[in-house]
């Protein structure tokens, strides 16, 4: 396959999900823990970063976690990713359910415009609200117990549309800022089927629209040539849910603070660690502040680096007095084509989430395309 062909394929792979973003699910990863809350937060990471457990997130120019890293971009670049997750849900009662979801959670376009100023636009999943639960129960109607099956579902989520700018102030310092427009919708449905067909099955559905706003800022400092420090913060105001023109809910969104450290002892070896704190408890009862950490290693400076990483932390929503926890590991690699103008990254990730009354095991296969024409 020639280099130009690879570039064309890569561009199509990056652009098609963007163009069809309105119709395709944009969530990162569903979880039963998010059903009772606002949803499952997305990850602001490309496949390259996911391969290392998220540790390189603050340092990856095309990951929407921070903006300052955009300052390292030398030319126009675009990236998109897709992934399929296989999730086993183990309920406390002993039942295991296997679920599967395919998502296209990230698309970013960035490039320098005026000298050292780099602008970027793109979207990523902010909250995933796709789930479908069935419930078997009965109720007393007209003097008899009436068994029924309920199916409650939600399909969609909240997308973070980011417009970012970064400025490489000096060789050792880069600054960045972004405005985040939160927008999205969910198609929600509630259906009940009675065993006694004298009672007609009922189905109600509606579309809930969401909106919100956020700002973020970040900086990159290189105290030593092989050491880089990233600090970032973000504040989102509130998530407003509407049915038609009626506001049905308004929920405070968290502030995010984090930092990361990257050490490159040699040109072909990079180590990184990141810690992020989000004040999800602002969202109300049943929500918890979270701290998430990750550590990762990238080996190889050529066209096929190898990446591994671990991550851990808490989930913002779930039952009980304490937050559900999440641990996982990931590994992946990439392959550059056409003298590095097109990059295909692949990753395999495993997560285990544990909370009161439920645990989940998730395997995710991720594929990312990056083009630098």
């Amino acid at each position: 396959m020639s280099g130009s062909t690879v570039i064309r394929v890569a561009i199509m792979a990056a652009v098609i999900p963007a163009l069809t973003g309105g119709a395709m699910p944009l969530a990162a990863q569903d979880s039963q823990f998010g059903i009772r809350g606002l949803g499952t937060p997305g990850r602001f990471e490309t496949v390259r970063v996911r391969s290392s457990g998220g540790a390189f997130g603050p340092f990856d120019a095309l990951s929407p976690l921070t903006e300052a890293s955009l300052g390292d971009l030398q030319g126009l670049a675009a990236t998109a990713m897709g992934g399929t997750s296989y999730r086993d849900v183990d309920a406390a009662a002993g039942a295991t359910t296997s679920l599967r979801a395919t998502r296209f959670p990230v698309m970013v376009l960035a490039g320098p415009v005026f000298g050292r100023l780099v602008l970027s636009g793109g979207f990523t999943t902010y909250l995933d609200r796709t789930w479908d639960v069935t419930l078997r129960d009965s109720l007393l109607v007209r003097g008899t117990m009436l068994p029924y099956v309920d199916e409650l579902s939600s399909d969609g989520g909240v997308t973070d549309l980011r417009f970012a700018a970064a400025w490489r102030v000096s060789r050792r310092l880069a600054l960045g800022a972004a405005v985040h427009v939160l927008s999205g919708s969910t198609r929600e449905a509630a259906a009940r089927t009675f065993d006694d067909t004298t009672y007609h099955a009922l189905k109600q559905s509606d579309e809930t629209r969401y909106d919100g706003l956020g700002v973020s800022g970040s900086l990159l400092i290189d105290p030593l040539p092989e050491l880089r420090l990233s600090l970032f913060a973000r504040s989102d105001n509130r998530l407003r849910a509407r049915l038609g023109d009626v506001v049905t809910a308004q929920t405070d969104l968290p502030n995010t603070f984090g930092g990361g450290l990257r050490w490159a002892p040699s040109p072909s070896v990079r180590l990184a660690g990141t810690v992020t704190r989000r004040t999800w408890a602002d969202a109300g009862p049943g929500a918890f502040n979270t701290v998430n950490w990750s550590a990762g290693l990238e080996v190889g400076a050529g066209f096929s680096p190898l990446r591994v990483g671990v991550r851990g932390g808490q989930l913002p929503f779930g039952p009980g007095a304490t937050a559900a926890t999440e641990v996982g590991f990931a590994a992946g690699t990439g392959r550059a084509f056409a003298r590095g103008r097109a990059i295909v990254d692949g990753s395999l990730e495993h997560l285990r989430r544990t909370g009161a009354g439920l645990s989940e095991r998730v395997w995710s296969f991720l594929l990312g395309f990056t083009v630098r024409p």
Partner: protein, 420 residues
């Protein structure tokens, strides 16, 4: 190589299909909203109800009922057959015709649409009637004709028990028609029982009574349903060869030109109750006022119309009939045009003698009203086979406070979408 590509593509596409349905672990891992189902009786939502009679007359019905229920109803079927021509051609090539001079025999065939299979010794008795009977003829008018000896008496049970349902002695037969799947009974009459009367132009007036070991009833198909009584004549013609007459060995089939059934006692005059059924047929109309909260913001799961019989339906047990509940396209009172749509019609069976509260499932109709607020919330009750039998049911109207019609509705409130 091609197979590998197809397999790879199939695997990729299969992976793209979401599987998101999981058993809910509630309430901790279920959405906060629940489907709220409410059951309520709307006692005062039915009003402005009344009854109208005369939509279908007995001679316009698709069936005719003969019944013998002492103390309740005595119903008899009457019909007149078509005239015969004055002369016929003996051969198809003949240019001249031979005048009819008499009959040899005739076979009358009746199609049974409903039979009391629980009755023993069910018999049909045929009587000769004047050919002048019409829609103005009353039960009393033909009382004298039925008082005499019957032309023929046929025991249906005995006839059906014979090989192939054929009585070789009398020439009668009974069997299931392979096309219509209905029971057809053929009764043979000789020339004395079915004489060719020139003055009547060969028309026959026949009356049918039913009898049995106990109260019984039977229904025959009518000419309005294209399966009325028929007669097959075997006739004699003048051969025009001296004084001889010739028996034509092929039957001359004739249908009926009029058929109906007459019964005693006649239908009770209208009163304050709501009547449905009977002959001429009666319909009851009711106006329903659904609360706006139910009509506009909920989903109907089940709706049941509750009616308390003022008097039990009278007749043979087999005379149970089906009542249909329709809505109307526009409310013009008695002349309201019905919405004849099977998906928007609800039915129930009226059992003779029962006095229990009648429950008509009207879920389809109430859902129809809820779906289109421009539709009049009007309910019309009628018999499924109007005027085909004398049996009718009468209910208490809305004016009877204690026993008024009511609507029991089970509905689901609007689900609280948009809540985290």
């Amino acid at each position: 190589m091609r197979a590998q590509r197809v397999a790879w593509l199939a695997a990729v596409l299969a992976g793209c299909v979401d599987r998101a349905t999981a058993p809910g672990v509630c309430p901790t891992f279920c959405p906060s909203g629940r489907i709220d189902v409410v059951d309520t009786v709307l006692a005062a939502s039915i009003g402005r109800d009344s009854t109208f009679r005369g939509y279908v007359l007995p001679f316009q019905a698709v069936a005719m009922t003969a019944s013998d229920v002492p103390g309740a109803v005595d119903s008899r079927v009457v019909f007149v057959t078509q005239a015969l021509p004055a002369s016929v051609a003996l051969n198809t090539a003949d240019t001249t015709t031979s005048p009819l001079v008499g009959s040899d025999s005739a076979k009358i065939t009746l199609t049974v649409t409903r039979r009391d299979t629980s009755a023993h010794d069910q018999t049909l008795r045929l009587y000769g009637l004047p050919v002048t009977i019409d829609s103005n003829t009353t039960f009393a008018d033909v009382q004298g004709a039925f008082a005499g000896a019957p032309l023929r008496t046929v025991n249906l049970d005995s006839l059906l028990a014979k090989p192939n349902g054929v009585d070789v002695t009398t020439g009668d037969s009974a069997g299931i028609d392979t096309t219509s799947k209905q029971l057809k009974v053929t009764i043979k009459l000789d020339s004395l029982q079915a004489p060719y009367v020139v003055g009547d132009t060969g028309k026959l007036g026949i009356g049918v009574r039913v009898g049995g070991a106990g109260p019984t009833s039977i229904a025959f198909c009518s000419r309005e349903n294209a399966c009325g009584a028929t007669v097959a004549w075997y006739i004699k013609v003048d051969s025009i060869k001296g004084t001889d007459t010739t028996l034509i060995h092929k039957p001359f089939p004739r249908g009926s030109i009029f058929d109906t059934f007459l019964f005693d006692p006649p239908p009770a005059p209208p009163d304050s109750t709501l009547a449905v059924g009977g002959a001429p047929s009666a319909r009851s109309i009711m106006r329903i006022t659904l609360p706006r909260a139910i009509r506009d913001s909920s989903q109907i799961v089940r709706a049941t119309l509750l009616l308390v019989p003022a008097v039990p339906a009278r007749g043979a047990p087999v005379d149970s009939f089906v009542v249909e509940a329709h809505t109307v396209a526009a409310d013009f009172g008695a002349k309201s045009p019905l919405v004849l749509d099977a998906t928007r019609t609800d039915t129930t069976t009226i059992h003779v003698g029962a006095t229990d509260t009648l429950r008509v499932e009207v879920t389809n109709l109430v859902q129809f009203w809820a779906a289109d607020s421009t539709r009049p919330e009007v309910l019309m009750l009628r018999s499924q086979v109007e005027a085909a039998q004398p049996t009718e049911i009468r209910f208490y109207p809305s004016a009877a406070t204690l026993f008024r019609p009511a609507l029991r509705i089970t509905y689901a409130r609007r689900f609280p979408f948009g809540q985290p």
